[in-house]
């Protein structure tokens, strides 16, 4: 594993009596791409601004490349930043925007020009240098902002919702573009986003935040497969939830019956929430001899999403419908249609157990 590049220790940020961040600790490794993911208002931007020194934390320590930078002003830190608005200087051409951080009394004109064309080529805008920002499309502006932030070869790249002002198609393209660039330059990067898909596709590791605290830190696979809390489970992807009561030895009873769970080291007791992803539910042939965790219900909706179908099931007695994903072929083979009953099985090893929210 690479060495720790950025270390945040017990960071807290108050705005008056409001606590926007509470006791945040995390580490970012050299060359890593980390996403801060969470709903709007959870404190992602606040944390990013604290790391940048734009609005420093009330308490806590920030260390970059082994140096304590907790109270340093932004100008004494080492980072490049791209904002959601891009904040391109409107009266300067693309060339001048990118060169903004390069021009100082000592730098040579040709060297600056050289570096600017290098950067513009890097972001695929080699022939756009003479234009003004307002003459570019949103996606192009975004890339100019990226080139400007990378111009001084900062040790840390900070991106605050860099893609959220763009339309879906451009966004998908730029995701890959940014990721490719990041890998190529191996620059340690933190990106803030509220879009889980963005985080899942781009990040090496994701920091899931909620209400000013970290809910979970992990790779996209870890976050998706083993969400550490009901919040993470609900926020990432689609998840079915069932309120249930532990009766011991892995069996839980709920309004519509009972379910067996085989999670290792199960320690929850009393009132819990069981969770399972739609794609983990197995669409089965109906049999009269009930199998383990077999559930039957009327199909209330079937949404064709290309290769698979999302089926909504309303089992008798259940508090809410169950979302089930099945391949289109299988759903057709089993004659799934709205109004007819369908049988599903909930594999015990796929059911997650969370304490009931208080």
């Amino acid at each position: 594993m690479a060495s720790v590049f950025l270390k945040i220790d017990s960071l807290t940020k108050n705005f008056g009596s409001f606590t926007a961040l509470r006791d945040i600790s995390l580490e970012v490794f050299e060359g890593e791409f980390v996403c801060f993911l969470g709903p709007s208002g959870c404190g992602k931007t606040t944390l990013l601004r604290a790391i940048a020194g734009l609005d420093i934390q009330t308490q806590g320590r920030v260390e970059q490349a082994g140096q304590d930078i907790s109270v340093l002003p932004p100008s004494e830190r080492d980072f490049g930043i791209v904002f959601q608005s891009y904040a391109l200087f409107p009266n300067l051409s693309v060339n001048k925007n990118v060169a903004y951080g390069l021009e100082s009394r000592r730098s040579k004109r040709e060297e600056v020009d050289q570096r600017v064309s290098e950067l513009l080529a890097l972001v695929d805008l080699a022939d756009q240098g003479k234009k003004y920002p307002s003459q570019l499309s949103g996606g192009q502006q975004q890339r100019v902002a990226l080139a400007r932030a990378l111009a001084t070869s900062p040790g840390l790249l900070l991106l605050d919702e860099p893609l959220s002002a763009l339309d879906a198609k451009v966004r998908a393209h730029l995701r890959q573009e940014i990721k490719r660039l990041q890998k190529r330059l191996a620059v340690t990067t933190i990106m803030v986003t509220h879009d889980q898909e963005e985080a899942l596709t781009m990040a090496d590791r994701i920091v899931v935040m909620n209400h000013g605290v970290i809910e979970q830190i992990g790779t996209p696979e870890q976050i998706y497969a083993t969400p550490a809390s009901a919040f993470v489970a609900e926020f990432i992807g689609t998840m079915n939830f069932v309120s249930a009561l532990a009766t011991g030895s892995g069996t839980f009873t709920h309004a519509g019956g009972s379910l067996d769970v085989s999670a290792d080291g199960l320690k929850e007791s009393g009132q819990v929430r069981l969770a399972i992803r739609p794609e983990d539910i197995y669409l089965s042939q109906g049999t009269d001899t009930p199998r383990l965790n077999q559930v039957v219900g009327e199909v209330t909706a079937a949404e064709y999403l290309g290769a698979f179908v999302r089926i909504s099931l309303a089992p008798e007695g259940w508090e809410s419908t169950l979302q089930v994903d099945a391949s289109t072929d299988r759903a057709a083979a089993l004659g799934i249609k709205v109004g007819a009953p369908a049988y599903v099985e909930l594999p015990p090893e796929k059911i997650l157990v969370y304490p009931e929210a208080v």
């Binding site: 940048a52 409107p90 009266n91 502006q141 400007r148």
Partner: protein, 572 residues
């Protein structure tokens, strides 16, 4: 992790950010400009307040000056007179301006740009000038004296006509703005619900502009109550607070009583100011909603009616303007109508001669140049600086304060502060410098608000980006902030120049024989009975202000053309 007991109980001290070199420089500058506001505004006002509780020998007498004031019926009567002028002017101006603004925004009357230009003319004239025109029109030998049916123009009638003339553009600007932010979708919805035009007017139009109307009313009221020019020229024996201050100070040398009247005059002005600020906040909230601009539909009859109305208002304004010019150009209006330039031989009259005209231009240029730098840079530091929260708050307050201080009060406060023998700054007294200093402060608020608005419209992250790129703040200020804000900066400088040319109230207490100003010359020539030369000088001020305005217009057009490549809105 173990939690130590102390970290639970002891209140933790927040981290203190380390200030960068930029932060230090910016703090130094904000302290400097803040110091300017303290010396040029706060301390003089303080000196005036304290003067009002001392007697002429310098002994503390508490409120006895005030008691004396309220025991003098002639003085107290002025309060009533001032309120009377204020209220009547407000009612007339706001009504006239509302109908006109309605025509400008809701009709397709022909000639709109011409009428809009004409109705802005009064801003370019000293408030003394309409009074002079009224003397020629309705005075003892007035050309259309019959129109007053035997009433005397000297007194409330003359003052009110002058004030309506003088305040009309101010009300018009506010109400037109309020009407133009109306949301077209509301009108479409109302029409779809089959509401008639009258119903729409009362349920959609009026509620939509209520804050604009309130704001306009307070601005007009304040201007009318605190104006000194009109009552001085055409008030006759009708005394108001503003003329009382002048008479107490210049006539009777009773500075203590002048201070007392000033404090009394501050009350309505300050009150109007705070109500206006309150209302403005609500108006802004209305503005921020995303509205669709209203495009008036052609309606021949309505458009004609509105045009006729605009013509009538224009005749009123051009009549007053034209009267002054005629009077200035004839040998002895209305008796000898041969053309002559003798009224322009200012050097033969009291009031400072042509020198005062050139002094005015010099003063207005200084005020525009230095005022724009101070105001814009000050607003920038308040908006973008870090730390010194308390000082920035105080700065903001001081920047808003001049709006609530009538010019005469400011001028008198300067006498008390800068003329005090113990004050080392008294070397400034009677210099051009003090005229410039007082003028910048006098018109600080509007200029500051213009700058703040422009700065707030810029992306708040420019400075963050620049800091991350390790660029000093002044580089971004000069390369980005100033170019992007150039239109606002031009507006500020023109505003300061025009007002410096036309103002008379603050400077009337501060000029010296070497620094007479054109506006003061108008006042003094009128006082001496040289009314035609006064009109001539007043028109010189008008032409100069108008010329500068035209220059501003051309310059703005040029800049617009040169920068439109990057000023067009984002092409997303």
């Amino acid at each position: 992790m173990a939690v130590t007991p102390s970290s639970l109980s002891a209140p933790v001290r927040p981290l203190k950010p380390k200030a960068s070199a930029d932060d230090h420089v910016m703090r130094l500058f904000i302290l400097m400009i803040g110091l300017y506001l303290v010396i040029a505004l706060a301390l003089p006002l303080y000196a005036m307040f304290s003067k009002s509780v001392f007697d002429s020998e310098g002994a503390f007498v508490g409120l006895s000056n005030y008691l004396e004031y309220f025991r003098t019926p002639a003085l107290v009567y002025s309060i009533q007179n001032s309120l009377f002028i204020g209220v009547i002017t407000t009612v007339i101006t706001v009504s006239v301006a509302f109908v006109l603004a309605y025509g400008f925004t809701r009709s397709r009357m022909p000639g709109k740009p011409i009428f809009k230009t004409i109705t802005m003319i009064p801003i370019l004239m000293p408030s003394l000038l309409p009074g002079i025109a009224l003397i020629y029109l309705f005075g003892r030998q007035g050309v259309v004296k019959w129109m007053l049916f035997g009433h005397d123009v000297y007194g409330p009638i003359g003052i009110i006509i002058s004030e309506v003339f003088f305040t009309l553009p101010h009300a018009l600007i506010i109400i037109v703005t309020a009407l133009s932010i109306a949301d077209a979708r509301l009108y479409e919805a109302a029409t779809a619900l089959r509401a008639g035009p009258v119903r729409i007017f009362f349920t959609v139009t009026l509620p939509g502009v209520r804050y604009g109307l309130i704001s306009a009313a307070f601005v007009v009221f304040t201007l009318a109550v605190t104006d000194f020019g009109a009552p001085k020229v055409i008030g006759g024996s009708f005394n108001v607070l503003a003329t009382d201050i002048y008479k107490q100070v210049i006539g009777q040398q009773n500075f203590q009583m002048g201070a007392v009247v000033s404090v009394v005059l501050l009350i309505p002005a300050a009150l109007a100011f705070f109500v206006d600020r309150l209302v403005q906040k609500k108006q802004v909230a209305l503005l921020s909603a995303r509205a669709v601009a209203l495009e008036p539909k052609p309606n021949k009859r309505f458009d004609m009616i509105m045009m006729v109305y605009a013509i009538i208002v224009s005749i009123f304004i051009l009549g007053i303007l034209g009267m002054c010019q005629f009077a200035a150009l004839f040998k002895f209006f209305p008796y000898n109508l041969s053309f002559s330039l003798k009224n322009y031989q200012f050097d033969l009259m009291d009031g400072g001669g042509w020198d005062s005209y050139f002094n005015s231009i010099e003063m207005a240029t200084y005020a525009a140049v230095f005022g724009t730098i101070i105001v814009f840079y000050g607003a920038y530091l308040v908006e973008k600086g870090k730390g010194l929260g308390v000082i920035r708050g105080a700065f903001q307050f001081l920047a808003m304060l001049p709006m609530a201080v009538p010019g005469l009060v400011l001028g008198l406060a300067y006498i008390f502060f800068f003329n005090a023998p113990s004050n080392p700054l008294n070397v400034l007294y009677h210099t051009m410098t003090i005229l410039v200093i007082s003028t910048i402060v006098h018109f600080y608020t509007v200029a500051h608000l213009t700058a703040s608005t422009a700065l707030k419209q810029m992306d708040a992250q420019f400075e963050s980006v620049a800091a991350s790129l390790k660029q000093p703040f002044y580089r971004t200020f000069l390369r980005v902030t100033v170019p992007v804000c150039t239109p606002a900066i031009l507006d500020i400088s023109i505003y300061l120049f025009v007002n410096a040319m036309t103002t008379v109230s603050a400077v009337v207490f501060l000029y010296s024989p070497h620094t007479t100003l054109a506006s003061v010359a108008v006042l003094n020539m009128d006082d001496a009975g040289d009314i035609a030369p006064a009109a001539a000088m007043g028109m010189m001020i008008f032409y100069t202000a108008a010329g500068v305005k035209i220059l501003h217009y051309l310059l703005s057009r040029g800049i617009e053309a040169r920068t439109q490549a990057w000023r067009i809105s984002s092409a997303n």
